[in-house]
Subunit: 198 residues, 2 copies
C-alpha cells in the first residue's frame, strides 16, 4: 500500500515523530491518519517523541509583544542543525508563528496535547446538543463538532492568520520542504494581562 509523502508529513506534524515511524504506521493502517496515531501510541509514542526531539536538538526561542504591552508570546521551534536555525525562512516562520499565536490564542500545539478534561467537556456539550437523535448519528455529530473545535483551538490545525487558506501545519510543512529538516514546534506560552487563569 503506497503512502504519499504529504500524508507522512501530516502525521509527523501531528505527532512530532520521525518520517520512518510515521510511514510504517500509515502503511499499517492503509493511510488512515487517526488510526496511525493510535498505532504509534500503542508502540509508545512518548518514547518515540523523545527520540524525535533529540534529532531536532537545535532551534530557536522567539518572542513577540503586542504593541499595547498586554499580550506576549514565547515559542520554541526546533530543527536539526544550527545552520537552519539561522536561516532567513526559519526566522520568518518564527515571526509569523508568534503573530499567529498572539492573534489566534491556541490552547495547545497538537490535538494530543489538549488537556483531557477540556476534550471531555466539549464532547459532553456536543452530546447534549445532539440529544434525541439516533445513536450512530449522535456519534457522527459529536465527532464533527469536536473536529471543528480542534481546528479552532489547536495551533497546527488553525487557519493561519495571515492567509486563511493555509493551516499552520501547511506553513510548517512548507518550511520542512524548503529546509529539508525535521522542524518541530516544541511549545509556546501566551500571556495576556487580565485573562482568567486556572
Amino acid at each position: 500500500m503506497a503512502v504519499t509523502t504529504q500524508e507522512v508529513l501530516k502525521l509527523r506534524q501531528r505527532t512530532g515523530l520521525g518520517m520512518m515511524d510515521c510511514k510504517l504506521a500509515l502503511e499499517e493502517t492503509g493511510g488512515d491518519v487517526e488510526k496511525a496515531i493510535e498505532v504509534l501510541r500503542k508502540k509508545g509514542l512518548a518514547a518515540a517523541r523523545k527520540k524525535a526531539v533529540r534529532t531536532a536538538a537545535e532551534g530557536r526561542v522567539h518572542s513577540y509583544i503586542h504593541h499595547n504591552g498586554k499580550v506576549g508570546v514565547l515559542v520554541e521551534v526546533d530543527c536539526e542543525t544550527d545552520f537552519v536555525a539561522r536561516n532567513e525562512q526559519f526566522l520568518a516562520f518564527l515571526n509569523d508563528l508568534c503573530l499567529h499565536i498572539c492573534a489566534a490564542a491556541p490552547i495547545a500545539v497538537r490535538r494530543e496535547d489538549v488537556p483531557e478534561d477540556l476534550v471531555e467537556t466539549e464532547k459532553r456539550i456536543a452530546r447534549e446538543q445532539a440529544a434525541g437523535k439516533p445513536d450512530n448519528i449522535i456519534e457522527k455529530i459529536v465527532e464533527g463538532k469536536l473536529n471543528k473545535w480542534y481546528a479552532e483551538r489547536v495551533l497546527l490545525e488553525q487557519a493561519f492568520v495571515k492567509n486563511d487558506e493555509q493551516t499552520v501545519q501547511d506553513l510548517l510543512a512548507d518550511l520542512v520542504a524548503r529546509t529539508g529538516e525535521n522542524v518541530v514546534i516544541q511549545r509556546f506560552a501566551r500571556f495576556e494581562v487580565g485573562e482568567e487563569m486556572s
Copy 2:
C-alpha cells in the same frame, strides 16, 4: 501586637493577597509568616488571591531572548493602574526580572506554586541523607534543606542575579514602596532549546 510594614509586605509578596488581609493574619499569629499563610489558606486563599489579582488588573507582558537565541523568557507583572505600568521603574523592573529568570531558571514564582511532587522528592532525599539521626533532629535538617532548596529555585526567594544581597522579593518590595501600588509577578515562562521536558 504590632506588625511591621516590612512583614506585611513580605506576606503579601508570598501570597499575592491584599495589605489588610496580610496585616490581620499576621496580627492573629503574632507576626509568624508561615502560620499566617496557614490562616489565610483556611480562610480561602484561592478566593482571596482572585480578588487581589482583580485589584492588580493592569500590567505588562515582557520578554527577553538571550543573545544566542536559545533561551527566552516571558513574564506577566500586574499592577493597579496603567499609569504605573508605563512607569520607568516598572519597565526597568520588567527588564531586570527577565534577565534574572533567564540566568537563574526558577521553577515557580512562589513556594505555594511549586508542584507537590517536586517538594515530596526533595523531602525524601533530605530525609535519606539525615537517616540515623534522632527524629527531632531529622525534621530540623529536612526543614533546613528544604528552605535552602526553595531559596535556590523559587523566583521570589532567589538572590537577584544583578545584586546578590537582595532577593527578587526585596526588589519587588522596593518597587511596591516606590509606586505605592500592589505589584504582582503573575507568571513566567522560560524556554531553553535542548532542555529536558516533562
